[in-house]
């Protein structure tokens, strides 16, 4: 490692102010700090600091996403061969098929997103932020396996530029960038991300290919039982299908404390309660209203959204009490959209984006309560 360090030290002056490659300072810095934790010491204020930094936090989230990614790859292959009726395909072949389908989407998402991230960092003279490392992994996981790569690229670019950089970069954005990418994709190219035709790789026209969510919307909960939805061998976005894989990720996030258990729990509570409410009082004719509440939680993007997107600290409510309210409303709203929206069966994406928008308002009310309390203190005393 010493040789590598010496090499970096040798080329570093060329990237600093006045050097030959000054234009690539942020890029160089990003790679340098990726390889080596910098040698900077605390100067003003505290003399020792916690070992954690944003790279560590973000890498934990990526680690938590790995089970969903790997299962997603396998499932893409599984769905494909299942459709073809081929039962003699080996595990490796199945995985490899999915791997080759998913990998390009991951690469496109990272190359486009990080590219824009590096350029804006350089323009602003900032360091490159780690935020996109997670977004870049989530974007492929919420895409269908057959998503055209150029559409993924355009959506990612839109999300990074208009979802994040225009607000000032990681930490300043209002909406979860990965969801902005998906929402852009959804509204710009609806035919490639909704309906029954897109969820299975290289689908042949004669095969149904509908997701359990779409089937449930039509009143069919028998094609895929709830155990299929939990294990994840169903058509859907790449990473969202397996509740088990997502649960492993959730375990990692909660164990390390990276994601807030308050948000995560409240999303499920909100979804379950709203599901129950519809079960009790919903219209008999509405199949979604009659879908059992626990079934609601297992299908579609509910689990994936609750675990990986609602808990994004930047776009979530930032006060502890606010997290309960924010999470609860996401869960409840997702089910409301599912049940009452006739056109499109899924509600998680729009629900999270909606609550992203209102999270600052929730926090405002809670902080304002603290402010009023402090003001009342004066009245009592004087």
């Amino acid at each position: 490692m010493k040789a590598l360090r010496n090499f970096i030290n040798n080329v570093k002056p060329q990237f600093e102010k006045g050097g030959k490659f000054e234009k690539f300072r942020s890029t160089f810095g990003a790679f340098e700090t990726f390889l080596f934790v910098p040698d900077t010491t605390n100067q003003n204020g505290v003399h020792v600091r916690d070992a954690v930094d944003l790279k560590r936090t973000m890498s934990v989230v990526i680690l938590a996403l790995i089970p969903s990614l790997l299962f997603g790859m396998y499932n893409v292959g599984y769905q494909h061969f299942h459709m073809l009726g081929q039962t003699d395909v080996t595990f490796v072949e199945t995985f490899l098929f999915g791997f080759l389908k998913v990998l390009p989407i991951v690469i496109v998402s990272y190359v486009v997103g990080l590219g824009i991230e590096f350029i804006t960092a350089q323009i602003r003279g900032h360091e490159v932020n780690e935020g996109f490392l997670v977004s870049g992994m989530i974007i492929p996981l919420v895409m269908p396996a057959d998503a055209p790569l150029w559409m993924v690229a355009v959506s990612t670019a839109f999300a990074v530029i208009f979802g994040k950089e225009v607000f000032g970069g990681t930490g300043m954005n209002i909406w979860n960038p990965a969801l902005v990418a998906r929402a852009f994709f959804f509204f710009a190219y609806p035919s490639k991300i909704s309906g029954d035709q897109v969820w299975i790789a290289d689908k042949i026209d004669s095969y149904s290919g509908a997701t359990p969510l779409a089937l449930a919307n039509a009143g069919d909960t028998t094609t895929y039982c709830i155990c299929d939805c939990v294990s994840g061998f169903i058509p859907g976005s790449i990473g969202e299908t397996s509740v088990i894989a997502i649960a492993i990720g959730a375990f990692v996030l909660l164990l390390t404390g990276v994601a807030s258990w308050k948000t995560m729990l409240s999303v499920f509570v909100g979804g379950a309660l709203m599901g129950l409410l519809f079960n009790q009082f919903g219209s008999e004719a509405n199949h979604m209203a009659q879908l059992p509440w626990y079934h609601h939680l297992a299908i579609g993007g509910f689990c994936f959204g609750a675990v990986f997107m609602a808990t994004d600290p930047v776009t979530s409510a930032r006060t502890e009490l606010g997290k309960y309210i924010y999470g609860f409303l996401i869960g409840a709203m997702a089910i409301i959209i599912r049940v009452l929206n006739p056109g499109y069966p899924e509600g998680m994406m729009l629900s999270i984006l909606l609550l992203n928008t209102f999270a600052p308002l929730i926090d405002y009310c809670i902080v304002q309560a603290n402010i009023s309390k402090r003001k009342n203190r004066v009245k009592i005393k004087s």
Binding site: M1, L4, R5, T33, L35, F36, V37, P38, D39, T40, T41, N42, Q43, N44, G45, V46, H47, V48, R49, D50, A51, V52, D53, L54, K55, R56, T57, S59, V60, E127, N129, E130, G131, G168, G169, T170, G171, M172, L255, T256, G257, V258, S260, P313, V314, S316, R318, T319, E320, K323, V367, N370, I371, K373, R374, K375, R377, V378, K381
Partner: protein, 450 residues
């Protein structure tokens, strides 16, 4: 005695290098200095000149705005230097001791007959007034003001902090006398914060004060946290705070008539070879303590604790309010893929490193920042280490935005640097929150005044 106020939020940083409860014999150094930088917001005006002979208690400089607030020499000897920094700001006024220990005589006082004005006058004359700090802003108290209350915390929960039970032993009477003086300054409104684990009767059975007992991790010992739980500061109120050794010095001043700057300092830290308590004098050069005491050359010498202390050179001077010296390793080296390693040996309040599995072992932490500066991303982590009814993140954002109204509303008046030092420690984004808070204070002092 009241019930124990149990604080749950906070964090004990488990550092190696606690001071052993023995008095180490360190020779007294030759040089002593009073550093105006130890007093927030102070603009000093020199009175003594280089070459002047002074006694302990002779005036060196005074506050330019409040000329009655005097800063005096801690020892008898000769003023040998006035060290200045950028824009000729006075950094240190250095006195060379003549070893004779001569003190100015301020006369004994009968505490039972002491009036408030006489007490104030005596504290000002003797240079003991700067011991008293005012909240908001953590500045020297204004002698013209009567505060709502005076708070004293009798224990320190900071990393490797000295044990005041140990320090006060043998000085119980002076401590009580000091409390009696404070009681004259602010009748019946002197509050003592006592540790639930503390043993000293000087604290738990102190007279003429209101005693509150606290338990919990750091910052339970921070007086600001205690104020917040006993009687929070409202906007516009003034509260004073005094440290334990300062109370003892005030007590001694009124009982014996001399301003004694004797101070017990704990020498701590993983890099110190000899750790223990030492009797020295306020503003002493650290040379005799630091000499031949560091394990390696790459050691940082801190006057104070690792959270709020200031770095000093090996021949630098101990801060005016400090009862502790900490020696920790410098961390100016690179670590290959440090953010990706399992991290069994890394201390973190988060559980992202596996060290939380390894129990309550002690750590030898260095001064590395462990990452780069970022915007606020992770939420809720600051709240976990601030046991006060305050939203720290919103407060810091208001300060960064220089929004004075919001700063006031969100409770800037209730905190000082030491209360939020842990927030800075745990901050994933490596923000300099103590500096931010100080900038907020400076802005408010400039725009609103004291």
């Amino acid at each position: 005695m009241s019930d124990v106020i149990k604080l749950k939020k906070g964090l004990d940083i488990r550092l190696e290098g606690k001071a052993e409860t023995v008095f180490a014999q360190a020779a007294l150094p030759e040089l002593y200095a009073i550093k105006p930088g130890d007093f927030n917001g102070l603009v000093p005006k020199m009175v003594a000149k280089v070459g002047d002979k002074v006694k302990a208690g002779s005036v060196l400089f005074h506050d330019k705005q409040h000329t009655e607030i005097k800063f005096v020499s801690p020892v008898s000897g000769e003023v040998v230097a006035v060290n200045r920094g950028e824009r000729r700001v006075i950094l240190e006024v250095v006195v060379k001791s003549d070893g004779r220990n001569e003190s100015e005589d301020f006369g004994k006082s009968d505490l039972s007959a002491l009036t408030r004005s006489a007490a104030v006058e005596k504290l000002l004359q003797s240079g003991a007034w700067p011991y008293i700090k005012q909240r908001p802003y953590n500045i020297i108290a204004n002698p013209e003001v009567t505060p709502r209350a005076i708070f004293v915390s009798t224990f320190d929960t900071a990393p490797l902090a000295p044990d005041y039970d140990y320090i006060v032993s043998g000085q119980e009477q002076n401590f009580q006398a000091g409390l009696d003086v404070l009681n004259v300054l602010c009748p019946k409104q002197v509050y003592l914060g006592v540790s639930a684990e503390g043993a000293s009767k000087a604290f738990s059975q102190a007279r003429n004060v209101n005693i509150n007992t606290f338990s919990g991790p750091h910052p339970a010992g921070c007086v600001g946290v205690q104020i917040n739980h006993v009687a929070p500061i409202a906007i516009g109120e003034k509260v004073w705070t005094v440290g334990v050794q300062e109370v003892i010095a005030i007590g001694r001043l009124f009982a014996e008539g001399i301003h004694s700057f004797e101070r017990i300092v704990a020498v701590t830290g993983s890099e110190a070879k000899r750790r223990g308590y030492t009797r020295t004098i306020v503003g002493a050069s650290a040379s005799t303590i630091a000499a031949d005491n560091a394990l390696t050359d790459a050691t940082r010498l801190i006057s104070g604790n690792v959270l709020t202390g200031r770095q000093i050179a090996a021949d630098g001077f101990i801060g005016f309010f400090d009862s502790q010296i900490t020696m920790i390793p410098e961390g100016n080296d690179y670590e290959f893929l440090g953010w990706a390693l399992p991290g069994f040996g890394k201390f973190s309040a988060s559980r992202t490193f596996f060290s939380w599995l390894t129990g309550k072992k002690l750590y030898r932490l260095d001064t590395n920042t462990h990452g780069e500066h970022r915007a606020f991303v992770v939420s809720g982590e600051l709240d976990k280490v601030l046991p006060m009814d305050i939203y720290p993140e919103y407060l810091f954002k208001a300060i960064m935005a220089q929004d004075i109204d919001k700063m006031l509303e969100l409770g800037i008046c209730e905190v000082v640097e030491e209360d939020i030092a842990l927030c800075e420690f745990v901050c994933t984004s490596k923000l300099q929150l103590q500096t931010t808070l100080r900038n907020g204070f400076n802005l408010m002092l400039k725009e609103v005044g004291e």
